[in-house]
Each structure stands twice: as C-alpha cells, then as structure tokens.
C-alpha cells in the first residue's frame, strides 16, 4: 500500500524512526543477518570479481542500447504469444493493467511481490476500480492486512514482531492467537491457497526479462510467484524497461549474484522462467499473458549523467550495509525505494523538488559500492545529485550562508586560526546561550588546535 510520498519529510521521518527502539533493533538485526549471510554465501565463489565484472558488463551492454534491447524483447515475447504493452508513466501503467483486467471481468486478483507495482501505486487504483487485490508474499500479506507499506524491499514486514503479527492474524482472520512463525506461516498458507485457486488473474513483477527469448524471470522463495503466474487463467506482469538482459544465457551470472547479495542464499528456492502463455499441448501456464513495460522516466535517466543507476538489479545489498539505512529504516525515505540505490532512484524518478532532503541521506562511506554486485558507482551518483541539488537551489538558505562563510575562512590560514581562537573564547557563551541543544551535540573546541600540534 502506497501512502503517498513523504520524502520531503525525510528528517522528521528519521527522527521518528530513531525514537522507535523496536524498529531500530529489527532493522539492525535484518542488516546484520543478511550482511553475515552474504559474506558466507560468497566465500566459496572463487572468481567473485570476475563474476561481478561479467554481470556489470552485461548491464552496461543493455544500457548502451536499451531501445534496441526493448524492441528485441517485445518482438520475442510477442512471438512467444504474450501481449506486450508499453507504459510511458505510472498513470498509463495503472490504466493498462486495469483495462486488461476489467475487459476480462477479473474481480479477484492475486499478486506476487513487485516493487514496480508499488512505484505506480497499482493496488489502490485496482481497488478503486472495484477489484479485490490480495498480496501473497507473506511479508506483503502481513503489511497489506495492517494497511502499511513495505519497510524493506526483501523483508517487507521486518518492522513488525511476531507478537504484533500474531495479534493481527487473530483480529483479521479470526484464528486462535499464536506467535510461532511456523504456525503463522501455516495459517497464511491456508488462507492464501483458497485465494490462489479462486483468483481470476495473477499480477507479478519480474527480476529479469530476456530479450532473445522474450522470457520473464522471477526469483522467489515462498512459491507465491509460481502460484500467481501459473494457477489463474490470466497473468499480468509489470516490469520496468531496464530489467531486460540481452539473452537468457546471461541469466546464470545473475542467478549467482542476486540471491547471494540479497539474502545470502546460493540460489532462491524457486526461479521461474516464463516464455509466453500456455500453448497447445501445454499443461502449464496462464491462458493469457500480458506484459506491461514501464518507462516512467527511465528513458530520461538513460540520457542523463545518472544513467548507471539503471544497472541496479534490486538486491538490497547496498541497504544492509548503509549506516543511514541501518539506523532509520526504509519508511523514512518516504517512497518505494530506500537505501543508497533508493535515494538516487527516488530523486531521479520523482524529481528533486519532491525529494531533495534524501540526497543527504548518505555518509559517502562507500560501503554500498563495495557490495554492489553489478558495480553501480553509487558514491559518484550521490555526489552528482548533491551538486544538482545546489545548482537547482534546493539547500537550506541558512546552511548555504554558514557554509559560504566557513569556506571563505577555511581558505585562509589567518582567518582559520582566528576562527579557532574565537571559538575557544566564545565557547562558554555558546554553551550558556545554546544550552544542551548545542553543547550536547558539538564537541568543545580543543585547547590546542590539531594543526598546531602537528607542527
């Protein structure tokens, strides 16, 4: 459920997140668990750097001529029997999906996890059109029941503990209270099984789309992705154009990198490769397959200085290691995509005016770039956005004035040491006037400045 973009309130969101002790503990646990598992999963991979080079190279190759790869994909998927729709923006994508569904009288929809569907706020639109939409990924199912939005792209309900989930299930499903994850999972299995079998249509995303064969590729662990794409008579897949890879034979590189980077698994429990709808003689597959290729600003990003962000394969590894994300969690970023890749994508897709505070949500430590399996240059991309933010006049004017003064003073040794001396003299006054708010946050000036000690 998309609750509207709140990226402009990144600071306030962060303060609120910092006060939520349970959330911080959950975020830290997720980040640490995935971080440790990731390292463990990559340990036996002897040629990791070569593998990253290869995957990065494939992604570069796609971006070097994305329109051609899109054309090839559209032709191949069409040949395989799918109907491909191009959606220029979020509104167009919502309309296309709603029309495909309503033309066929679909009322009950089961949905696999898809960040792109969150990006275009698909559920609310379909519900407004009178359809019932059931999220079937366990984490998404939980937060849909609670009326919330995902806090983590891999573990959407990481901000909820087992007792909250147990109470939610009791309230909403009328089952006896339990807080055992295995028992809760079994309850969800039963409740959702009935939905799968009676659904008119399934909606999924896709992790990759192979241009040469027109295949969609989905990585899942629970099996809901398999259900959504094979059990209902109609399958609608929504994905953004940059998910395309040139060939199905390029997939192994990503099969080796993505699950390890995301959850520390050598491979996800399931990988579905879907090529067109059910054909004569087949006993598997939806009778009709519609693929919605979303642009929503990607073509513009491709032509600009930030195009390398389109290499991203949405593993979430950059988030787990990011000191900002680990502390404030996914909700603080205020839109679909959090963490280092998320702040870049949010700014590019929704515009600087709607997102500029989040450009500061990085310490530039570079941990993100170090783990990125496809070598997205995250730090330079963030720096570019910060320069753009200044160029477009978005920084806080007070902050700009102070930094301009500091810049001038710091450029001259005389002014700088005068400033240091003044800081020492006026510190008691600053502390007296500013009180705990200032003195508690700023360290007192050293009695002998470091640059004099260094001589």
């Amino acid at each position: 459920m998309n609750l509207g973009q709140t990226t402009l309130r990144f600071r306030q969101n962060s303060v609120r997140a910092l006060e939520d002790v349970a959330l911080r503990a959950a975020m830290k646990q997720a980040a640490d668990t995935f971080g440790a598992k990731r390292a463990e999963a990559f340990a036996p991979v002897s040629d990791l750097e070569a593998l990253r080079d290869r995957a990065s190279g494939i992604r570069d190759e796609v971006l070097a001529d994305l329109p051609r790869h899109v054309e090839t994909f559209v032709a191949s998927a069409t040949r395989a029997g799918a109907t491909v729709h191009r959606a220029k923006d979020a509104a167009a994508a919502r309309e296309i999906v709603a029309k495909v569904l309503s033309d066929r009288g679909a009322k009950r929809i089961v949905k696999g996890k898809s960040m792109v569907s969150e990006e275009v706020d698909l559920n609310a639109h379909l519900e407004a059109a009178g359809m019932e939409v059931f999220e079937t990924d366990l984490g998404e199912y939980i937060i849909q029941m609670a009326g919330e939005s995902p806090s983590h792209i891999i573990v959407p309900a990481i901000h909820k503990n087992r007792r909250q989930i147990g109470r939610l299930f009791t309230e909403r499903l009328g089952v006896p209270y339990t807080e055992d994850p295995q028992a809760l999972t079994r309850i969800a299995r039963g409740a959702l099984r009935e939905k799968f079998l009676s659904a008119d249509a399934g909606i999924s995303g896709a992790n990759f789309a192979a241009a040469d064969t027109g295949s969609l590729v989905l990585f899942t662990n629970e099996g809901n992705g398999r259900m959504v794409t094979t059990v209902p008579p109609l399958h609608v897949a929504i994905l953004s154009v940059e998910k395309i890879i040139p060939s199905l034979s390029d997939l192994p590189a990503f099969l080796r990198l993505l699950p390890r980077s995301a959850t520390g698994q050598a491979i996800t429990a399931y990988v579905s490769v879907i090529t067109g709808p059910r054909k004569p003689g087949d006993a598997t597959g939806a009778k009709e397959l519609h693929i919605v290729l979303l642009d929503n600003g990607r073509t513009e990003i491709l032509a600009g200085e930030s195009r390398d962000i389109l290499k991203c394969i949405r593993c979430g590894a950059c988030m787990n290691v990011c000191p900002v994300y680990r502390t404030v969690g996914g909700h603080a970023y205020g839109w679909t995509y959090p963490g280092p890749m998320g702040l870049i994508l949010t700014t590019l897709l929704t515009g600087m005016a709607k997102s500029h505070p989040v450009v500061d949500a990085s310490t530039l430590c570079g941990a993100c770039a170090e783990v990125c399996p496809v070598r997205v240059p995250l730090v330079p991309l963030i720096l570019q956005l910060r320069r753009r933010k200044v160029r477009e006049g978005f920084p806080d004017p007070k902050e700009r004035r102070v930094m301009a003064w500091f810049g001038r003073a710091a450029a001259s040794p005389g002014w700088f040491s005068l400033g240091q001396r003044l800081a020492g003299i006026f510190w008691p006054l600053v502390r007296a006037v500013g009180g705990k708010d200032v003195a508690g946050r700023l360290p007192p000036p050293a009695r002998i400045p470091f640059r004099r000690k260094a001589h």
Binding site: E222, T230, S249, I267, A269, V271, A283
Partner: protein, 165 residues
Amino acid sequence: MNGEERVRLFLENAAKAAAGTHLLPGPEALRDVLAGIVPPGVPVYCPGLTAAEEAVADLFPNRVADYADAAATVEEVFGAVAETGTLACASVDGRAVQAGLLPAHHVAIVRRDRIFAELDDLFAEVVSAPPTNLTLVTGPSRTADIELTLAIGVHGPERLDIIVV
C-alpha cells in the same frame, strides 16, 4: 567434472538446501525407496508420462488425476544442476509444472544423465527454444518474513525428496 562427481555434488548441494536425497544403486530399487518415502494410502499425483513414472504408478492405490487434490506428487523432472543442488522442472511433453507446487510433498525422480554441472549448461540447452515454463527448484518452499525466522512450506511443498536413478 565426470558423471559421478556431478551426482555427488548435486546431492550434496540439494541436501544443504534441506531436500531429502536418495541415490539408487539400480532402477529396481526405485519402488522400495518410494515405498519408504510416500506414506501408504495418501492421495498421490503421478502423471505417468515417462517410463519411470509408469513403472511406479501402481505403487499408489490412491492415485488422483488432479494434482490439486494430491498430498504428494511423484514425477520425473526435466533435469538438475549440480552447482546449486537445483531441480529443473519444465512444461515439456504436456507436463504440469505446478503439480510439483501445490501438494505439500514433492518427490522428484532425476535421471543421472540429466544432471548438468553448471547453470550455464542447463540454459545452453534451453535457450534456443525455452518451454513455456521452466522452474528451478532448490529445496522446499521457505520464508523468513517473520522476524527473519526460517519457516518451511509457505505456498509450495514443505517437503522435497529427490531420487537419482
């Protein structure tokens, strides 16, 4: 990597992913192993599309025609990958890939000459004409969505047994 190494590595990796693994000394042992894996009397879906499936179909007195009604599916799969301990299930020859998804127990028979060393070998074989559905299966269905605690059997099988013949 020779055939024996592929079989060994495949079974080792499949076991790591929490699949039950069974290596048969010869084809005659298949019936005995199956009798030990599938509880007697449970509704079983066994499509009877291959020689191996036909040879064991009569083991299950309660054989059902619709996998949605089955407690277990016993089937021969398209192939396997040693690198990751993965089964490759494909919608070839009228096979319903979702038959290995809906029942709580999936029993997969893999011919040893269908075990590929690496993922690339599998995709090299299918890339020229991929089936409508190719599903790679590694271990039973799982989630860690509640407090990152592993739970088995979300929407897919909670038990996966692999028999290499």
